[in-house]
Symmetry: C2
Subunit: 431 residues, 2 copies
Amino acid sequence: MVIVGGGFAGLYAAKELGRAPVRVTLIDKRNFHLFQPLLYQVATGSLSPGEIAAPLRATLRDQRNTQVLMEEVTGIDAARRRLYLANAWIEYDSLILGTGAANSYFGNPWETVAPGLKSLEDATEMRQRILYAFEAAEKEPDSEIRRQWLTFVIVGGGPTGVELAGALGEIANETLRRDFRLIRPQEAQILLIDASPRILSSYAPELSDKAERFLMKLGVRTRTGVRVTSIDEQGLSFRGPDGVSNRIATRTVLWAAGVQASSFTLALAESTGARLDRAGRVQVEPDLTLKGHPEIFATGDMVTLTQDGQPVPGVCPAAMQMGRYAARRIVDRIKADRLNGRAASSPFRYHDKGSLAVIGRAAAVAQFGAVRMAGHFAWLAWLFIHIMYLVGFQNRVLVFIQWGFQYLTFSRGARLITGVQSPPASSSKSG
Amino acid sequence: MVIVGGGFAGLYAAKELGRAPVRVTLIDKRNFHLFQPLLYQVATGSLSPGEIAAPLRATLRDQRNTQVLMEEVTGIDAARRRLYLANAWIEYDSLILGTGAANSYFGNPWETVAPGLKSLEDATEMRQRILYAFEAAEKEPDSEIRRQWLTFVIVGGGPTGVELAGALGEIANETLRRDFRLIRPQEAQILLIDASPRILSSYAPELSDKAERFLMKLGVRTRTGVRVTSIDEQGLSFRGPDGVSNRIATRTVLWAAGVQASSFTLALAESTGARLDRAGRVQVEPDLTLKGHPEIFATGDMVTLTQDGQPVPGVCPAAMQMGRYAARRIVDRIKADRLNGRAASSPFRYHDKGSLAVIGRAAAVAQFGAVRMAGHFAWLAWLFIHIMYLVGFQNRVLVFIQWGFQYLTFSRGARLITGVQSPPASSSKSG
């Protein structure tokens, strides 16, 4: 059997199959599993790329039934049960897909002016832009342009946008406070905007309020009910809830507003007749298989699925649960085949274990069912959970130490501007 | 006064001037100081870029007389005492230059096929190529091409080449040993070649022998007295000491053979009349100033200087000593000016504190004057000295922990292939 994608869905599926009597091939175009929830910490210089990534081969080294292949899957022929790679194809009997999501700009050409945050390259690009903006301000004689360099706009008030905005607030107010001679980083304007009536709209309203207050303390202003109409290298235009158009002059716009399924789902839909939603996500049966293709499971971010009238959210716990579920279904079928029986298939159920978003030092919001928390305790829960789920013992220790240092000193160790040839605003994306 | 370059020479000069009654501007095109002696550990996946780099602003934050400017110096007008930046110029009364060195291919167009190791981008590019070679071998059906992917040639048997070769030997024999299913990484051929009659030619001959034996244990073969005649994407041709031409079929050639001064020295020579040697290094007076320009000091790798008939080597301790010396000369002059006197100028003396090269786990060679060591004790000395000189307490702790893990488990935490779009052999350098 074949797994495509070494994200949370694919990796947890592979682990679940570690002792199953089946040969597993895990295909990913990268050689590592990425701990996406901490990507914003790379983008804001707290952590290094290596600390939130684990080599897939090393992670799965002891599963002797599992082979890792570093390849990009370019297409699928579901009738012949083949996956196409760059220069070869591979056959499968059953297939678990977890090809993930990419940034979505809702059809607008804003990718180069407003980088998103889905890959390690995205994160180092974002880090470069944030740090370079302060450097550019320091050497800019024109006060108007200096103000533009010191203005940061984050589009999207979900957890990623809130976490980015909070980290930016800490960078400006603490980390860089004494580093410059001509500018005062504390004067940076940080603006978080969102189309919904409140930030963290998937959380309880009182937690949105709390988060907004935490952000305000870090100098971050929020504007909600706002629609972005254009973004260019000198600024961002939007229409407010009152319908009035506005423009913010800024050199740095960060995108945390939307995702869409990776383009592989188009090939998948064509070959299987699966239906896609507006964001390119695949509609699956209650057991995560594709209609008419019980041998193909789709999991994680690439899937659209409704449960009790609510969409299952595109978060890591959902991806892990889907990956494990699909793997168990395959094991059940193998067992049933041996007994000449048929595997009973209870539908996938997403168990919401709660949501957490961190805003800054000792400031987080958390929602575990009816239990809602904000402040120190939520922050400790966040720390604990993220350290525990990080893949690789070495990464856990390193991240723990980095966070310890940061707590004590506000310093951010991985504050590097790499890969700059020209000012980022005019350079092409270089990874 | 102005310092150009935040390497060892420039940073130590800036630190020496921290309490001097003078305004200091340190200009670097990067925002960090790079601990170059550990660059090969980034290239071989042991350390992350952030762990061997320290943000210049943070390092010099408490020196209130010092300003850091992230700019590339593009030219100099020594008569008007001006440095040209991208869109501005800056005036100086005295100047310390430490613009460093770049890879030298002795006029051959081998830069894209045989990457060198001077910057963090070089290191991640090299890491990508090394790791990708094993991935490509794993999926290659043709046994001849597979062997080419598993053949690594390192050109240059100085400390960098020896350390790279040793680390590659450990990667193949230990780190990746159980990670693949179709290839055996231990079968990788690693070849270290050098034009001199022995590797580590600046060390005592018995240490060269020791190093060669350490390398052999890690599966690295050495060939000396060898001249490279061509390198392309399928292999490397060379002429042996017997004059016979040979070719090695390989997909990965790493360059550690030569450096030349950065191209800034050309502009410097034109403006000041300073003479350059074949590697573009500036000839300086015994007090490190340029002839006819007592206000300009040149330090570090960019300088050629003879002491007691021997060239001062282009190593970090020499750069630190030169940077400090130049800074002290400037302080002396300020003091002398106040007293209406003239500063006595004793010439610069390089104090050779010894040389160390590490080959692998508990295997290093060291030479401290007449004392020569090989093995465990030299390795411990190497560890201790490198940890101590790393800039930034946080980096020291992180590197110490990474090395501890690696010692215990042979794992290398930063084993990421980032920035790959196509197989590296055919892609352009992307940083």
